[in-house]
């Protein structure tokens, strides 16, 4: 009797975890695992040239993971429509590199924190994946919003409820009020420094 109850419970757990992990989660997970894997290799040897190569590699994975164009559109909001096609392209190019660069820097600090995938929800062509990062001290909730095109790509990340896109939008809004889009792009180039043509 005990055994049957036990096996039913086990199968229930297996089923429920199978339901929770949809295809968006598995795509997200595989990209994140790939990047983390690269960082584990890196820790063994880090000459500066190898670092640049690694940045490039991570950027190519980031292109699979993030939908940078969608992110650029959302961060600029209404201002996006006012840009010329050329400006749109340039802005998306810079913003992508800027975000990828931040992502790289955060990963460098990665010290074996575990990522737990909690929940996946869908709405039309969008998905929301809830995760937590477990650190020594606490658990940091991190939500990904994804959009399905040829594959699932992230268009917003919320850390402890703070949406990255919304945060940049409030900053860009302020900058665009006082200065123009060209000033904003120059600021980005300055921040990126040598990594602006990755």
């Amino acid at each position: 009797m005990k055994k049957t109850i036990f096996s039913i419970m086990i199968s229930l757990i297996l089923i429920s975890s199978g339901v929770a992990a949809g295809d968006a989660t598995s795509e997200l997970k595989s990209s994140i695992d790939k990047v983390i894997g690269m960082f584990k290799d890196k820790q063994k040897s880090t000459p500066p040239e190898a670092q640049l190569i690694q940045r490039k590699k991570i950027f190519s994975i980031a292109l699979d993971l993030f939908n940078f164009e969608e992110m650029s559109q959302r961060t600029l909001g209404k201002e996006w429509k006012k840009l010329s096609d050329d400006q749109k392209k340039q802005f998306a190019h810079l913003f992508a590199r800027f975000l990828a660069n931040i992502y790289y820097q955060r990963l460098e600090e990665y010290t074996n924190e575990k990522v737990k995938y909690l929940d996946e929800r869908h709405h039309k062509d969008k998905a929301l994946i809830k995760t937590v990062i477990v650190t020594q001290k606490n658990e940091i909730p991190m939500d990904y919003k994804l959009l399905k095109s040829d594959r699932w790509r992230v268009y917003d990340i919320s850390i402890e409820g703070v949406s990255l896109v919304r945060n940049y939008r409030s900053q860009f809004h302020k900058i665009l009020l006082k200065q123009g889009i060209n000033d904003l792009m120059n600021m980005m180039k300055q921040k990126l420094g040598q990594f602006s043509d990755l």
Partner: protein, 257 residues
């Protein structure tokens, strides 16, 4: 002294209530929070919404000029005074000691959480806080460890009066940057004045001990956040707006919970 504090608290509270009605129109943030509670999955229209809003949702900031000055001052204060102290502290204090101290201070702060859960009409959560306190104070060696979570899986509810007022539908009022303490809003500063009464540390009579204990608590809390502020600044194009928006989004989320 407490008498004077009560007065300030009362005046501010009335002020918040008074302002609330007429700020509501300007404070688009509260409206969004309301719809989010109903369905945080309402992002079908979100995209178009985001594209068409002329101004990103935020908080009223009539004191922006003063706030920016204090923000700059706090920035320097952090870099020149707090950061070096925290770095030294981290260097000489091993992580288990810091975590122990954090647990201890969290544990004695139970009254704030329990009372605010109750004020939010969550008696069960309030009870959980009291039970956790009893468990941690005894089994948990005066609260230095956290058996309520590790063994009994009792979740702590990080509630404060600012959040309680938020759940009553009181908006942020306006944003303010306080010297030393950083981001706050009219509602949250009112809340923290009230919460002060529930903080056992404030009942220490000897002023030197009070300052000592408060400093240890502050530095210990900061020690876990070392480097966070630098990262925010590094990521930001406009640090003032970034911190303001971050604070408002974070609080909105906390109130929803």
């Amino acid at each position: 002294m407490p008498h004077y504090k009560t007065k300030i608290c009362m005046i501010l509270f009335i002020f918040v209530l008074f302002l609330h009605g007429f700020i509501h129109a300007a404070d688009t943030n509260t409206d969004q929070a309301d719809t989010d509670i109903q369905d945080d999955w309402a992002f079908e229209d979100e995209f178009d919404e985001e594209m068409d809003e002329p101004v990103p949702p935020g908080v009223w900031d009539p004191l922006e000029k003063v706030n920016r000055c204090i923000f700059t001052m706090n920035d320097k204060l952090y870099l020149w005074c707090i950061k070096p102290v925290v770095q030294k502290y981290n260097h000489y204090t091993p992580i288990p000691v810091r975590v122990g101290l954090m647990n201890f201070f969290n544990n004695i702060n139970m009254p704030q959480r329990a009372v605010n859960c109750l004020l939010q009409l969550r008696p069960i959560d309030s009870g959980t806080e009291i039970v956790s306190f009893a468990v941690n104070s005894t089994m948990g060696i005066a609260g230095f460890t956290n058996p309520s979570k590790t063994y009994f899986h009792l979740e702590s509810h990080d509630e404060d009066l600012g959040q309680t007022l938020g759940t009553y539908g009181i908006g942020n009022g306006f944003y303010m940057v306080l010297p030393f303490l950083g981001s706050s809003t009219l509602r949250d500063i009112t809340g923290s004045l009230g919460d002060n009464y529930l903080d056992p540390v404030n009942y220490i009579e000897d002023p030197y001990v009070l300052i000592g204990v408060s400093s240890v608590r502050t530095i210990n809390t900061m020690s876990f956040r070392a480097g966070e502020y630098e990262k925010i600044k590094e990521m930001a194009f406009e640090p003032y707006s970034a911190v303001k928006d971050g604070y408002i989004q974070y609080r909105t989320k906390q109130i929803e919970k």
